[in-house]
């Protein structure tokens, strides 16, 4: 889960960082209570990047109070760049800046441990600059591995490399590590990190990603509003899928669910197989209405509810129920769940359904599916493990094009 800048700054403050004086404005806390001294920056709170280049950070001088207020209200009322804006962060401008650094910590698969990332040239547009400069030199952004068992010693060494002339540097790294580690973050990025002429540091921005898998030990995360990686709140379907997955603790069904613009419903099985199938679907020219996946021998009830949800999307032209040859998922139980879901759908299902699956009890399962499909007048085509997984995709393409 990605945090908004103002949420991230709260976590940074809790570990001892100084952030600019500011306040969050939203519908419930309107701009009338603005009590900051100008000049100020008003910053839209979004989860995506490139905010500054797209005009989401605006500076207002003394005397521009009315203009500022008007623009902030417009953002909250009409949105910004076609994005709904719930919060705007207003901050006083920072004086006496000596340097703008870029400093971050994240998990790195190359070392399979935490790393610090640092650049002497922070500020907006660092990604673009990095991309440009990458062509010239391999590394403009320094990567500094942290030994998780000896974090303090690692930070000491890193501090002498990246902040050789400022004794406060180590403290900054320690605070960042604390923010990263204790919050179960996967990324904490401060860009820019202002270094003032008196040697103190101020976190100018905060981008924090939290590891959703650690939610069980962070009850404080429950207060964050629901969100998706698409910089938008989850759709009703996406939220419902999460609820379905939480029905019981057996396997997963709907833990990952994304709604798209296409018209082919997807019920895939297994993380790896589902990616392969989505690639093939894209290549075929069909467009998915959703992505979702069930695996790990989930209960029949969960699969039924997830199926019902997938086919509830209006305008579907086909449904792909597809997976590899399962190791231990009971195919009879899970396909019975799929049939339960199809039969309990609110509308009559006229579109073609193509199933490809293998694994424990698949033959028995197929017999059951055939029987129930005939009885309920459903157009179901079945492929077992003797047919390769991707052959099912062109079959659906053909059937969809015919209808």
């Amino acid at each position: 889960m990605r945090l908004y800048e103002f949420e991230g700054k709260k976590l940074l403050t809790a570990t001892g960082f100084v952030v600019p004086t500011g306040q969050v404005v939203s519908f419930s806390f309107p701009v009338d209570i603005l009590e900051l001294s100008f000049p100020i920056f008003s910053k839209v709170q979004i989860l995506g990047g490139n905010r500054a280049q797209r005009g989401g950070v605006v500076r207002f001088e003394k005397g521009e109070e009315k203009v500022a207020k008007k623009m902030i209200e417009k953002w909250l009322k009409n949105g910004w760049n076609e994005e709904k804006i719930e919060y705007v962060l207003i901050e006083q401008s920072i004086q006496n800046i000596k340097q703008e650094h870029y400093l971050a910590m994240r998990w790195d698969t190359a070392t399979r441990g935490p790393v610090a990332l640092y650049s002497t040239q922070g500020g907006s547009g660092i990604e673009e600059r990095q991309k440009r400069e990458k062509a010239k030199t391999e590394h403009t952004l320094g990567t500094y591995p942290i030994d998780i068992k000896f974090a303090d010693q690692s930070l000491q060494i890193i501090a002498t490399k990246i902040f050789p002339h400022n004794a406060r540097g180590k403290g900054i790294l320690q605070k960042l590590w604390q923010a990263f580690y204790t919050n179960d973050a996967t990324l904490v990025e401060i860009n820019p990190l202002f270094e003032l002429t008196d040697g103190t540091f101020i976190a100018g921005d905060a981008k924090i990603d939290l590891d959703d898998l650690a939610a069980f030990r962070h009850s404080e995360w429950e207060s964050y509003s629901k969100r998706t990686p698409f910089s938008r709140p989850p759709t009703a379907m996406e939220q419902e899928a999460k609820n379905i997955n939480a029905m019981d603790h057996r396997g997963v069904a709907g833990a990952s669910f994304f709604e798209f613009d296409g018209d082919i419903g997807i019920m895939a099985s297994g993380g790896g197989a589902s990616l392969l199938v989505m690639d093939a679907l894209m290549a075929s020219g069909l467009k998915p209405a959703n992505y979702t996946e069930y695996s790990g021998n989930p209960s029949r009830e969960k699969v039924a509810e997830l199926t019902k949800l997938v086919v509830s999307k209006p305008g579907l032209k086909g449904l792909l129920v597809i997976g590899g040859n399962a190791n231990f998922t009971d195919i009879f139980e899970t396909l019975a769940g799929v049939m339960d879901g199809l039969e309990s759908a609110k509308q009559k299902l006229h579109f073609p359904i193509v199933v490809r699956r293998g694994g424990p009890r698949w033959q028995e399962a197929f017999e059951m599916v055939r029987e129930r499909a005939t009885k309920n007048n459903l157009d179901v085509t079945l492929f077992g493990p003797e047919t390769s997984m991707l052959e099912a995709v062109p079959v659906l393409v053909k059937k969809v094009r015919k209808t």
């Binding site: 998990w107 399979r112 698409f230 603790h249 990952s256 790896g272 996946e293 590899g324 190791n327």
Partner: protein, 298 residues
């Protein structure tokens, strides 16, 4: 021959008294694996189908010093303490099947495993099988009938793809030396790069199939092993995730490690890295079969 497990493996199951633990114990024993003991805190002294249960890993290892592998069947939130117990008892191979283990916990386990020279497999690993010899974890389920012994090593992030691709090979008469599901998490204890040198040493293995996907750098690390000539047999790779890359970065698909990132871990980057060092990258399982058949004919 095979890698990591064979008929001399003496296995411990942590969480053996649970529903899944009992089931996997029966499956593993039916596959020829020697399951010598189990651990469930508070259930010491019981037996599960004749397998003695202990309260702690230390107790089990004292009673059965030949234990050289443990598989952990515990929910994600308990994986860290269970695996730590096993690593500190210096069991040579520690296997974790649970998905959804927090990244920080895995990072700490990896560091601990390195310190104690223990091979950690997983988290989120379906298991591993040396067909006809032994298996660990839920790979192959009750019957294992998608696997037969033979010359191809297989490494996959996805457990489903272990089964799917092995079945494809088996149906076409190509057996497997060892199949390893390494897991699809952001961090896993054993990666492609760790296993390729083992397959290089294994005389039975004539070539390796690698099933990867977008996210992370494990496929790129595998390419580095080829470049360093630590693996010289044919490597055939299938990398998925084209679809996911059309979406905003930060989106994770099915596997926690399959994350879209602008610069790191793109499918195209992985394919380029592997192709450059002589691996054959295929687009579909059918193409994979053709290439494996051709490489075995040479």
């Amino acid at each position: 021959m095979a890698i990591l497990i064979n008929n001399t493996t003496n296995c411990l199951i942590q969480g053996i008294t649970g529903l899944e633990g009992q089931k996997v114990s029966a499956w593993m024993r039916a596959s020829g694996t020697k399951v010598v003991a189990g651990v469930t805190p508070g259930k010491g002294g019981q037996f599960v189908d004749g397998v003695p249960v202990f309260n702690s890993v230390a107790e089990a290892v004292t009673a059965f010093p030949t234990i050289n592998l443990t598989t952990i069947y515990a929910p994600a939130r308990f994986v860290r303490s269970a695996a730590q117990e096993a690593i500190e008892a210096k069991i040579s191979i520690v296997h974790v099947i649970a998905e959804n283990v927090p990244t920080r916990d895995t990072a700490e386990l990896i560091a601990l495993a390195r310190q104690h020279h223990v091979t950690l497999i997983g988290p989120s690993s379906i298991g591993l099988i040396s067909p006809g010899k032994a298996k660990v974890g839920s790979i192959g389920g009750e019957t294992n009938n998608q696997f037969i012994g033979g010359p191809i090593g297989l490494i996959s992030k996805s457990g489903g793809m272990c089964s799917e691709v092995s079945l494809l090979l088996t149906r076409n008469g190509i057996g497997q030396s060892t199949v390893v599901g390494i897991g699809g998490d952001r961090f896993v204890g054993t990666t492609f790069a760790d296993l390729l040198p083992l397959f290089e040493q294994d005389k039975e293995t004539k070539g390796v199939v690698l099933i990867g996907e977008l996210g992370g750098t494990y496929e790129e690390d595998a390419a580095a092993i080829l470049e360093k000539k630590q693996f010289t047999k044919p490597l055939i790779a299938l990398i998925t995730g084209l679809f996911a890359e059309t979406l905003p970065q930060g989106v994770s698909f099915g596997h926690a490690g399959a994350i879209v990132d602008k610069y790191i871990g793109t499918r195209a980057g992985k394919i380029a890295a592997l192709t450059k060092v002589g691996a054959i990258v295929v687009a579909t399982p059918d193409e994979l079969l053709e290439v494996v058949l051709a490489s075995l004919r040479q």
